[in-house]
Structures are given as C-alpha cells and as structure tokens.
Symmetry: C2
Subunit: 409 residues, 2 copies
C-alpha cells in the first residue's frame, strides 16, 4: 500500500529538517526527497477501469481513473480538481513516455465528448477517483499509414491528465496516465480486425516497453497458449484446446500440410500470418476465421463444446480418413474451413459391399442454429447414428435435444 510510503517520506522529511547539524547537505537531501515524492505521487495515478480497447466512435463508453494518494494528499481541496481525457496517437504516447510524462499534450487526435470529470474523494470508501461515464469519441483523426497498414492496426490511447496541488506541501503537480492501447473503429465490420490487433498486443507486448511496440513474430507455442486462453475466455468454458487442435491450427496458419506437430513447436508465427495474409483459396485471414469460430461457439455451441461433442479443429481430409474406417452413420462435427462461423457435420455412408463414402453437410451458421439448435438438427438427420468414435447419437446429444418439429415458423 503506497500510502505507507508517503508516511515514510514525511518522517524522512522531518528527520532531515531536524538534522540541521549539516547545513550544506540539507538542500541536496531535500531535493532528492522531493523527487522521490513526486515520482511516488505520479505513479499513484492509475487507470482503474480501462476504456474498451476496441473503441467505436459515436458510441458511449466508460472509464475510471484513481489517485491512490488522493485521500492522503488532497485533503481539503478548495475547488474540485478536474481530470481530462484525451485521445492520443501512438507517436504522442511515445513522446510522453520519453519525456517521463513531463510534457503536456498539444493536440488530441480525436474529440471526446464529456471529457472532463471531477476528481472526487468518496468519503465512505476513501477512494479518490474520476469516473468517466457517458464519454464518447466523436471522431478520430487517422495517422499517416504506410503501405499495407490498415486503420485497425493503428493503436492510440486515452491520456488522463490533471493538475493538483498537494495539501501539506502546497506543491503543484501534473498527473498523467495513459490507458492501454486502443484501436478505434467506426463500424462493426472493423471489429474483427481491431480485436486481432488488441489480442496480439495484449498477449505479446513486454510489460515495460516504448508505447506500443510489440514483436512482429512470436513462437507458435505462445500463439497456441494465447488462442487457448482466448477461446476459453470467450466461450466461457473450462475445456481448452487440445494438441490435435493446435496441430490443425498450425497447418492452417502456416499453410503447411507436411510438417509434423514437433516441427511446428519451434516455429515463429508472424502478425501477417495471423491477420494480414488471406488464407489460400479463402476470402479471409486466419484470425477472421478463428474469430468466427469463437463467435459461433460462444453463441450456439458452448454446451456441446464443453461436453467435448465437437471435434471442431480438424481438417476435412483427416476426418475423411478417420470416418472411412468406421461403420455406417458414424459422424463428427468440425468447423467449416470455407465459411466463417460455420459448423459442419461429416458422416460416413457405408454400402453393403463395404465401400464407404464420407459426406459433409452444408455448414450451419449461428443464424441457422438460432432457428433450430444443433442437437435438434442432429436428431432430425436419420443418416447420423454414432458420434465418432462410437457413441450413439441420442446418448451423446440427448440432453441437447430441444423440440420436436413444429412450433417456430
């Protein structure tokens, strides 16, 4: 608790003042003490509630900053101090960081409506906060972009700043703190790509860094962890991704279908592979596809996934190999490769002569599944008998059956 540190400071100050026996040392000691105090005070000004890291213009959002030492150092403020929130570019953030937050901002990169809020000490909780509700970014001024950079790769931040005068010492001090990096969008169709930028940044940036540099390529292992955590967080499940899933994802993102799982271990994956390059023969990037899966699973398949009824991340070819050796009507579920946010059923038809043919049903989208849920659709399809490897479908999906046909236009 940093308030204790302040107490230590004041005790030290007293001691130094008392120590008037060595007058030529005193000024230097005091100066040093003041520096320490200033740095301590500045670092106790924090963003308690971050603004959304994907921020849409013309859409209200919330944020909250807290001055930990406020209750101690602003005891009898004559008029309430006001905290400003301003949009700053990555470049501006970097300059601020370089100046050790001693510069002040010249101009912001986007107008925030209702961007000043009083810094108030709540007497009951003893916290000193400025609570931004109903803040709204009206318009964003984009930076110069070089080459293939898209606006959803551009990071900016909200700078919270205020001037306060500390009560006992009467020292005036300029407090500033940056939010986490933010990607500003103007329409929902940019949400995907903005999320990719934020995910990459959050996962792979060093804690101490020049804002907002981040590696351009990272070990595939780390990417796997990130995707796994994201999947579990987004879908709200405790069942994470498995080794075979990672293998499939590696094949997809590296577009390499000959390497072994071990080969992928040591590989590096680039930002371009993650969300710039179009997957061969598809109209979307790896992340756009993966995010589609996240969305579909979150919305319609959470319980199925958590019951491990969805193999999901597996290639059509491999499914074909697996199923062709199984009895008639064996099926499994995989995410569509060709369609964003689709899940498809693969099943085997085995002739009396022992010949086998693997069929893939036209993928279901979240919209389809909101009309009739997956369980019911599986029940409807007579050609499906056993979930791979060998679970009778009624046993596997029985608890997900919802309604007989009828009802629902």
């Amino acid at each position: 608790r940093c308030e204790n540190l302040v107490e230590v400071y004041f005790q030290l100050q007293k001691q130094v003042m008392a120590m008037s026996t060595e007058p030529e040392l005193l000024p230097r000691l005091l100066e040093r003490l003041n520096e320490v105090l200033s740095s301590l005070v500045k670092s106790s000004f924090l963003v308690e509630k971050q603004p959304p890291q994907v921020l849409k213009t013309q859409t209200k959002f919330q944020a909250n900053v807290r001055f930990l030492l406020g209750p101690r150092l602003l005891k009898a403020a004559p008029k309430p101090y006001v905290v400003r929130a301003d949009m700053v570019t990555e470049k501006q953030a970097r300059e601020l960081e370089l100046s050790n937050y001693n510069n002040t901002l010249s101009e912001s990169t986007g107008e925030i409506v209702h961007n000043t809020v009083a810094l108030e000490t709540n007497p009951t909780s003893g916290t000193c906060c400025a609570n931004f509700k109903n803040v709204l970014l009206k318009k964003i001024k984009r930076c110069e972009r070089k080459g293939s950079e898209s606006v959803t790769e551009e990071k900016c931040a909200v700078l919270f700043s205020t001037n306060v005068t500390l009560t006992p010492s009467n020292v005036s001090i300029h407090l500033q703190v940056l939010s986490l990096p933010i990607v500003v969008i103007v329409h929902g169709n940019q949400d995907n790509n903005a999320k990719a930028t934020v995910l990459w940044d959050n996962a792979f940036s060093d804690i101490e860094r020049v804002p907002f540099v981040v590696a351009d390529r990272v070990p595939w292992d780390k990417m796997c962890d990130t995707l796994n955590l994201k999947f579990m967080a987004e879908v709200q499940t405790t069942k994470g991704l498995l080794k075979e899933h990672y293998f499939f994802l590696a094949q997809k993102i590296f577009n390499d279908h000959s390497a072994s799982p071990e080969d992928f271990q040591g590989r590096q994956v680039s930002w371009a592979q993650f969300n710039k390059e179009i997957l061969p023969g598809r109209g979307f990037t790896f992340w756009q596809w993966f995010d589609g899966v996240l969305d579909l699973t979150k919305r319609c398949l959470k319980s199925y996934w958590s019951d491990r009824l969805i193999m999901g991340f597996i290639s059509k070819q491999y499914v074909c190999k697996l199923l062709s050796m199984e009895p008639d009507g064996t099926f499994l579920l995989r995410f569509s490769d060709s369609e964003i946010g689709g899940v498809t059923i693969a099943y085997v038809i085995r002739g009396k002569d022992g010949s086998s043919q693997v069929e893939n049903i036209q993928p279901f989208s979240a919209k389809d599944l909101s009309i009739r849920c997956l369980g019911d659709r599986i029940r409807d399809l007579g050609q499906l008998r056993n979930l791979y490897p060998n679970i009778p479908k009624d046993q596997a999906f029985g608890s997900h059956y919802n309604s007989e046909w009828g009802g629902l236009g």
Copy 2:
C-alpha cells in the same frame, strides 16, 4: 410572372417622380409605392422545395428557397446574402403570421445543423436560390402538451429568413417565409402517427389560415376522397377505391355496422376517430390500420390490386355471406382486420351434402410475401379454385406466378 410587376412598379415610380406638378401629393404616392414594392418583394420569397413534412431528428434532409425577384433586384450584391433556416413552433408561426412577417424570431425550437446557406443567383438558369443540402435537425424541443395530445400531433415549421438590400433603391428588407407544417419525430415508430397528422392537415386545412389550424371534424365524403387519393398515390396505381370499399371503411371508422351507405354520406368524421381512438377490440387506430394496408399493398400487392384481384376492403361477415353461396373452392382476398398490414384468403368448402363452410387463412404479412409472393402461395393452396365471383385461379393469377417450390431457403 411577377418580375413584370416590378417593371410596372419602376415605371410607376418614374411617372410619379416626373409628376412633380403636384408636390404635396408626391410623398404619399411614393410611400404607397414603397409599400407595394415591399409587399411584392416579400411575397416573391418562396419555398421551392419543402422540407419533409415528417421530419426525423438526426437525419439529413433537403430544402430549397427561391427569391423570384432576386435576379432583378440583387444584381451586384457585394457579398452573398445568407439565408437561415430555423425550427419554429406552431405558436411562433402564428405570431409571425399575425405580425405579417415583420417580427424576427427570438429563439428556435430545435437546433438545425448547417442552417445557413448563401442565396446565390445561378447565371445560366437565372434563378436566385438558397439550396439547403445536408441540413439536419439535431434535437427538438417539444411544446407543452395538454391532456391526450401526442408529440406526433404537434406541428412546427421551418422559417427561412434573410436580410437583403435591393440594388437600385438601396432599400434593406427582411425576407421571411415558412415551410408547410412539419411533424418532428425521433424514431421510425412515430412515423405512422406523424403521417396521419400531416395527411389530415394537407387535406383539410384552408389555403388561407392561421398557422396551423385545421378542422377537427370533416365530412366523410371528403375523407373518402382523401383516402382514395392517398391510396392511389402511395400504391402508385390508377385503380382507386370503390363504393363498397368506402362503405366498409365507414363501418370501421364509425364502428357502426347498421347504417346504410347513404347514412354515412352526410356524416362527419373526427380526428379522434381517424387516429386517436383505438378500434374496438384492436390494438390500433383506423389510420394505423389503413396505413398498414397502404404499406403492404405498395410493397407486395401493387400489381394484384391494379388487376382488381383483391377485394381488400370488405368485412369478414360479408365475405362469409358472399362465399357461402358459391361453389367449393371459391375464394377472395381481403385485408386482415385484426393484424396491421396483413392480407388473408377466404375460401369456401362445400360438402357433398351442400353444406358450406368459409375458412380464413392466417394473414400474410409483407415479410411473408417477400419470401414467397402471393401468386405462388395461391398456386400452392390446392383448396383454392376460383377467384370470386368465378374466375379460375390460374387465369386470374397465372401472370403473377413466380416460382415452383424449391430455391429460397
């Protein structure tokens, strides 16, 4: 062409000036002439393109005012004159009218963005206009409303105003003109009711009136004409409403099922009956229902209506009487009474014993018909044979058949 009048004025002025033989009369004559000029000039400032009479906040709209005498009287304007557009309440409009447009506006009842536009003379067309594109009403300040009045009954207007200095005489003059009355809405769900207010006002207001008074009740005959004109304009058809339709509508709006068509002729219908009172047992007013029919017909039934295949405005009871005397499979189309914007098929089933039963199919909405059109739906239904009175359905609807079953998820 009022420019001629100006010429007459200038000639008169010259003559009067020349007529210095009677010096004591001169000042009075001149004064009178100036009055005439002023009134002439003022009345040549017109709204060429009216703003929408149902105006939604936060939605761009256009308008255009024209100063007919501009090209004649503003020949060498030093700097361009600017026309303002301001929202005024009905009360303010009335006060302006009373002052004969000599007052100036103190405050508007809603902020219009980009509300000043230059009054420019187009050299090629020789017109002097101020063209408001990209105007937008940001917010509306509602008036005090008494009792049961709804915001969609509130009329306001746009006041266009400017100050110009006439070139030859160097007289400065304040030009003002009001738009037609406007109902301001904030959401599409108010559109219905706003349209009712506007329709009533446009149809039943006197040309000369205090803004914006209008009768509270009007002869049913006039209402019929109005509904008919509205129907034809909205649906874009040359086939209007028929006597029997009016009779049915009268029964509905007056909630009187015993009166004869002649009885209704002389009746008065009130605004309340038109769009305030809820139809008994329904959740909507007469106009809301009628507007639903307009919308449905415009969007999905235009050609059917124009081919007179839709009886439409007819009561369930009367249909029952008609059909019960017809052979099996005789059907007709009527607008649903219970559902806004629905069309239903009534048909007769006749048993071998001669007994007959009239059935009504669940009404189709515009959404239903956009999925599969009415013609196809009639084709699908095997129990339908002949359109009342006696046209084989393939003959009546054949040209409206569109697709066999299949296609379309």
